[in-house]
Point group: C2
Chain length 634, copies 2
C-alpha cells in the first residue's frame, strides 16, 4: 500500500496518505478545514483547492498535477478550464498519485474570515449555527427497507461525518413527500449545536439565511444576513408598538402586572411587529420568511422578558430578580415567530437589573474583556446602563436616568424625527442661537426651510452646554439672575431660554429650554456620572482609557459638549467612540459565529453587577455629580 506525503497550506497540516484517496479524504484525515456542501459528489464546487509547487517542501515536484488523477469533466465544468490550467482542482475529485502540497483558499475553508460591512468594518469570522448538506439518496428497495429518515440520516453521517442527528417533528412530517418529489436529491439544514435537521429542501440549495433581532424599548431592528458571506442583505427598523402601553420599561412592566392579560398583549404586539419586520426584510431580499434558518435576539431585561412572555413584575422592584439570566434556545414556532417553524431562536443572556442582552451584545461586539485598556461602555436609551473594566474584571450597573435624551419630560422634547432641533450653538458673547433641524441640511441662519417642531436629545445637550458656556446657567443648573436679554422668558414663572423664535417653528410658539428641562438633564447626568464614579471606585481606577457610547444616542451627540457638561468622563476627545447600535451588531455577530454565543454566556457569567441604590455612597455621589462640570475620575 503506497503512501505519499501530503501537505495542506496555509494551515500546515501534513501526513502520509494512501495512494488513490481523494484530497478531500486526505483533508479529513489530517484535520484540514475544507468546505463541502455536496459531501464529495462533485456537485457544489465548494472544495476548490490549488496544487502548489512542492520543491521547497522537499516533495520533488514542480506542478503537482502529475501527482494527481486527471481532472474530471465535472471539475472542468465547475471550475472552468482556465482555473484548472492554473492548478485548481476539486478536493473531492482529485485522487492522490504522488507527494503533494495543496493550498486551501479562504473561500474553501469552513471557518472563513469576512469583513462585515459595518461602520467599524469589523472582521467577523464565520461559524454559523446551521449547515447545509446536499445528499443524493438511493431509492428504497425490497432488499433495502430502511425508512426515509434512516436513509437520509445515514447518508448525512456517511458524507459529512455528522452522527447522532435527530429531526424536527414538523420536518419529519413533510419528509416522505419532499424526498420523493425531489427524486431523492435534497439539501438538509442541520442545526449543529442541537444535532438536529430542521429543514429539507428539494435539490441543491447553497445559500443560508439568518436574522439578528434587537428588541429595543423604542425601536425594533432586524438584520437579515447571508450566513455564507456574513453580509447584511436587508436591514430595517420599526417602532416598538408596545409604546402605546407605556413609553418606558417601568410603565410597561406596570401594565403587564396590572392589566388582565397585560403580559399576553405586550408579548403579542411585539411578536406581531417582529413578524411584520421579518416579512418586509425577506421581501426586500427576494426571500420568503421560511428561508430564515437561524435567529439571534438581544434586548434589555424588560424587553427580553416581554419578548419571551416571561413575567416581568419582579424586574420592577428590589431585588430586581429576572426569571432567568442564561441564554436560551427556543424553536421559533414556540415563540410564534414567523420564520421557518423549526428554526432555533437563540436569546442572548442578560445580567441583572436592566443590564440586558442588549448590553451583552455591545460587549460581544466591542470586546472590552479582551483588552488591557479600561473601557467605560455607556448605553443611554430609555434607561442608562454602564459597564466598566478590561480583561481582568468587568463590572456593570444600571441607573435610572429617565429618558430626557429621548424627549421625555422635556418641555419641547421629542425624538430625533423630522423637525427636531438636533444641533444648537449658543454664542458665548452675544447669547445668540443657531440651530439645525433633522431633515434640513441648512442651519437656521443659512436659510433653513424645515420649521422646528421640538428639540431632541443631542439638541438638548448642545443647548445646555452652550448655555453653561455663555453663563446663562451656572454649573449648579440655576439660571443666572443677573443677565437679562430678549431670549430669556419668564412667562410661566420659571425662566426659559429661547432656542427658536415662533417664526422659526411649526408650532406658532417659541421652542425653549426651561429650568425644568435643565433639572431633568441634571438628574439623568447625575445618575450616569455617579454610577460611573462608583464603578470606577469599585474597580480602583481614577481614569478610564476610553469611553464607548452605544446606541443611537451616542451616534448623534456632540462628544465635546457631552464631556463639557460632565455627561461622560473627559478622557480626551479621541478616546470617546460612538459605536451606534452595537447591541444589534452583537446579535449579528452571535448569528454569524456560534463562538460569540459562548463568549456572551461567559461574559454574562463573569460580569459583576452592582446595585447602585444599595451602595451607601451613591446618594452623595449623585448630588455631587448633578453639577455640570467636566470630570476625569474620583
Amino acid at each position: 500500500m503506497t503512501e505519499h506525503l501530503v501537505v495542506f497550506q496555509p494551515v500546515g497540516k501534513r501526513g502520509r496518505i494512501q495512494e488513490g484517496k481523494t484530497l478531500r479524504e486526505a483533508g479529513r484525515e489530517l484535520g484540514a478545514d475544507l468546505e463541502s456542501l455536496c459531501g464529495g459528489r462533485q456537485a457544489c464546487g465548494k472544495c476548490k483547492v490549488r496544487i502548489e509547487e512542492g520543491h521547497s517542501l522537499g516533495l520533488g515536484m514542480r506542478s503537482g498535477q502529475s501527482h494527481l488523477s486527471l481532472p474530471t469533466e465535472k471539475e472542468v465544468e465547475l471550475l472552468g478550464e482556465s482555473a484548472v490550467n492554473d492548478g485548481y482542482r476539486l478536493a473531492c475529485a482529485a485522487t492522490i498519485a504522488g507527494p503533494l502540497s495543496v493550498y486551501i483558499p479562504e473561500e474553501s475553508r469552513t471557518s472563513k474570515q469576512v469583513v462585515a460591512k459595518t461602520a467599524t468594518q469589523r472582521a467577523i469570522s464565520l461559524k454559523p449555527a446551521v449547515r447545509k448538506c446536499y445528499v443524493e439518496l438511493s431509492n428504497p428497495r425490497v432488499e433495502d427497507p430502511r425508512g426515509d429518515w434512516e436513509r437520509l440520516s445515514e447518508e448525512i453521517t456517511h458524507r459529512f461525518g455528522l452522527a447522532g442527528l435527530d429531526i424536527d417533528y414538523q420536518a419529519l412530517c413533510c419528509l416522505s413527500d419532499i424526498v420523493r418529489k425531489a427524486d431523492w436529491k435534497v439539501t438538509v439544514t442541520v442545526s449543529m449545536e442541537r444535532h438536529r435537521v430542521t429543514m429539507v429542501h428539494p435539490g441543491l440549495v447553497e445559500r443560508s439565511f439568518g436574522l439578528a433581532i434587537d428588541v429595543g424599548t423604542t425601536t425594533l431592528a432586524g438584520y437579515l444576513c447571508d450566513l455564507n458571506t456574513g453580509e447584511i442583505i436587508a436591514a430595517e427598523a420599526v417602532m416598538n408598538p408596545q409604546i402605546s402601553y407605556g413609553e418606558d420599561v417601568i410603565s410597561r412592566i406596570t401594565y403587564a402586572m396590572d392589566s388582565p392579560d397585560g403580559l399576553s398583549q405586550l408579548n403579542a404586539c411585539v411578536i406581531e411587529a417582529l413578524n411584520g419586520l421579518t416579512s418586509n426584510l425577506a421581501g426586500k431580499a427576494g426571500l420568503v420568511v421560511e428561508d430564515i434558518a437561524d435567529v439571534t435576539m438581544v434586548g434589555n431585561t424588560a424587553m427580553h422578558h416581554l419578548f419571551l412572555k416571561l413575567d416581568p413584575q419582579h424586574l420592577g422592584r428590589a431585588p430586581f430578580t429576572p426569571v432567568l439570566h442564561r441564554p436560551l434556545d427556543i424553536t421559533a414556532r414556540e415563540l410564534g415567530l414567523k420564520v421557518h417553524p423549526a428554526t432555533n431562536v437563540h436569546i442572548l443572556p442578560i445580567l441583572a437589573g436592566f443590564v440586558g442582552a442588549d448590553n451583552i451584545g455591545v460587549l460581544v461586539s466591542e470586546k472590552p474583556h479582551d483588552q488591557e485598556e479600561v473601557a467605560l461602555v455607556v448605553d443611554v436609551g430609555t434607561n442608562g446602563e454602564l459597564v466598566l473594566g478590561n480583561r481582568r474584571r468587568l463590572i456593570a450597573a444600571s441607573c435610572a436616568t429617565g429618558s430626557p435624551f429621548e424627549g421625555a419630560h422635556i418641555k419641547f422634547g421629542m425624538r430625533a424625527a423630522a423637525g427636531a432641533i438636533e444641533r444648537v450653538v449658543v454664542d458665548p458673547q452675544t447669547c445668540e442661537v443657531r440651530f439645525k433641524v433633522v431633515g434640513d441640511d441648512c442651519w437656521s441662519d443659512q436659510g433653513s426651510r424645515v420649521k422646528a417642531r421640538g428639540i431632541c436629545g443631542s439638541g438638548v445637550i448642545d443647548a445646555i452646554a452652550g448655555m453653561l458656556h455663555a453663563q446663562i446657567i451656572n454649573p449648579r443648573g440655576a439660571f443666572n439672575k443677573n443677565i437679562s436679554m430678549s431670549r430669556l422668558l419668564r412667562d410661566g414663572g420659571e425662566p426659559e431660554f429661547v432656542i427658536a423664535w415662533p417664526a422659526e417653528t411649526a408650532i406658532d410658539r417659541a421652542i425653549t429650554i426651561s429650568q425644568g428641562d435643565v433639572r431633568e438633564v441634571q438628574l439623568a447626568k447625575g445618575a450616569l456620572a455617579a454610577g460611573a464614579r462608583l464603578l470606577m471606585n469599585k474597580l480602583g481606577v481614577e481614569q478610564v482609557d476610553k469611553v464607548i457610547l452605544a446606541g443611537a444616542f451616542g451616534l448623534h451627540i456632540d462628544k465635546a459638549n457631552a464631556m463639557s457638561i460632565g455627561l461622560v468622563p473627559d478622557c480626551g476627545w479621541d478616546k470617546v467612540y460612538s459605536v451606534g447600535n452595537a447591541a444589534g451588531e452583537g446579535a449579528r455577530m452571535a448569528l454569524l459565529n456560534v463562538n460569540e454565543r459562548r463568549e456572551a454566556a461567559e461574559i454574562a457569567q463573569r460580569l459583576e453587577y452592582i446595585e447602585l441604590t444599595a451602595e451607601p455612597s451613591f446618594s452623595k455621589e449623585f448630588v455631587h455629580a448633578m453639577e455640570f462640570r467636566p470630570w476625569k475620575g474620583i
Copy 2:
C-alpha cells in the same frame, strides 16, 4: 481527620468515610444506590436505612447506634419511635461517629424491583424517565441577584447532583409565579434522558404518573401507572374511531392518500379519542391529565404513522417504506396529546411492513432475544405478524391474513361482543352442535338465555376444527358431498353448516359456517403457516420450542383446536402461551424503565425483516399450508 469503615448492604459497597459526614454523603461517595426526594432535608423520609450488627464484618460493634449521631426529632417523626428503636435511621440525618454496617431496604433504593400486577406477574425493575426533586430555595436578595431559574437549577445540582439541566419553555413561563406562591418550596419533575425540567409544582409532591398507550387498529388501550410503584392505577380500552374510515390498515392508508385532508382527519380522530381516554383514566384515579409526566406509545406501523401524522402511503405498496423506524421523543403539546404539555412522549421503534411498535412491545415484554429456546411469536389482529428466533437471531415477517378472526368476510362474523358465539363443539359422531355465547355462562344445551347474533374468531376456529374432526369438511376445506344431514344447508348453492338454529339466534336466521367462510380461514391460516414455515427455513430450525400468541385473539382461542387445524405449529399444548395484550405490556415496561426503551431500540436494529411476497418459495408454501392439518415444521 478521623475516618471510619462504612459498609452498605446488600450492595456490598464499602470504604472509609470521614467522621461527621451523613450516611447519605457516605452512600454517594461509595456509589450506594439511595433514594432521596427532598435532597437531604429530612423532609421526605425516603432514605430510610437500617443499622446492622457489625461483628461479622469485623467492625467491632453490636448495634451501630453508638457509632452514629443521636436520632433527630425529624427522624423520630418521619420513621416512628419503634422503627428508630429497631435500628432504622434517615441516611440524610445520621452522621458517622464510628465503623458501621448499613442495610438499604428495597424501598430506599432508586432502582426498585416490583412485581407488576399482570396475568404473568412479571417482575419489572423501576427506572422511570422522570424524577421528582423537592427543593427549598433561598429568597432573592440584592446581594444574590440570581434569576429564578438559576436559583432553582443550581439548587437541583447542589442537592441531587443533576447538572446541565434546561427547562421547558412553558414551565419557564410559569416559574416566577409558582416559586413565589409556594414560598420558594417546590417539587420539580426532571426528564432524566432529556436533562430537562418539565414541571414545577408547589410544595412537596411525591407521586409521579405515566401513561402507556397501545394504538391498535381496532382498539385503543391506555394504562395509567404510578411511576413510584409500577402499579397500574387505571386502565381502559376504547374503539379506535378511525374504524369509520376503514376497518383495516390498508383501507385507512387509502383514505389518507385519496381524501383531501384524509391524513389530518385520521390523525385528529385518534388523538381526540386518546385525549378522551386519558381524561377518563385520570378521572378514575382522581388525577388531572396534567399530572401525567411521561408517556410511551406502541402501535403497528400504520397506526404509528397516523398517530404521528406521518404520510402512510408508502407503507401500502412495495417496497413498503416507512417514514422512519427509530424510536422518537416528542413533546406532548407538539402531538396535541392532552397530558402535561411539557411531557415527553416516547414512541417505540417499528421494524418494517406491518411489524410495528406493537410487535416490538411484545418482544420487550416476552424477551425471546434473551432466551435459548426458539420462540415463534404470533400476533393476529387485522393483520398477522410473526417473529421467530432466540438469543442468537430474530427474524420477522408480516402476512396478509385478512381479518376473518375479527369477523371480516365471514358470513355471520362479528367481533367478540355480547351475542357472539365464542365456543363451538361439534359431536364427531352425530354432528350435533353445542355452543356458548359471549355474555352468557351457560352453553346452548344448558339453558342459555342470551341469543346468538353472530360468530367471533374463537368460535370460527372451534367450528372449523369440529367440522374437520366430524369429517363435514376434508383437510382441503371442501364440504363432504357424501354426508347428508339436517344441519347441512345448500340454499344459496354453496353448502353451509348450521351452528345455531333460527330459534337460538336473535336474528331470526340460522347462523352457519359457509364454504366461503372456510376458504377465508384457509387463506388466513395458509398465510400465517406459510410465513412461519419460511421463517423456520431461514432460521434453519425444524421445530419451535414455544409459541407465544399475542393480542386478544390468543387469549380467547382454544389452543388445541388452533393446533389441530394447523393455525399454529403443534409444539405441545403446554408450549403455547397466550400473553394477551403484550404490546400494551411492552409499552408499560418501557414506561417504567428507560432501559427497556434502549432494549426496544436494539431489538428493532437486530430484528431481520423478511418480505414474504419477495420470497420465491412463498406461493408454494402458501398453497401447501392452506390444508387443515397439524404440522411440526418443514
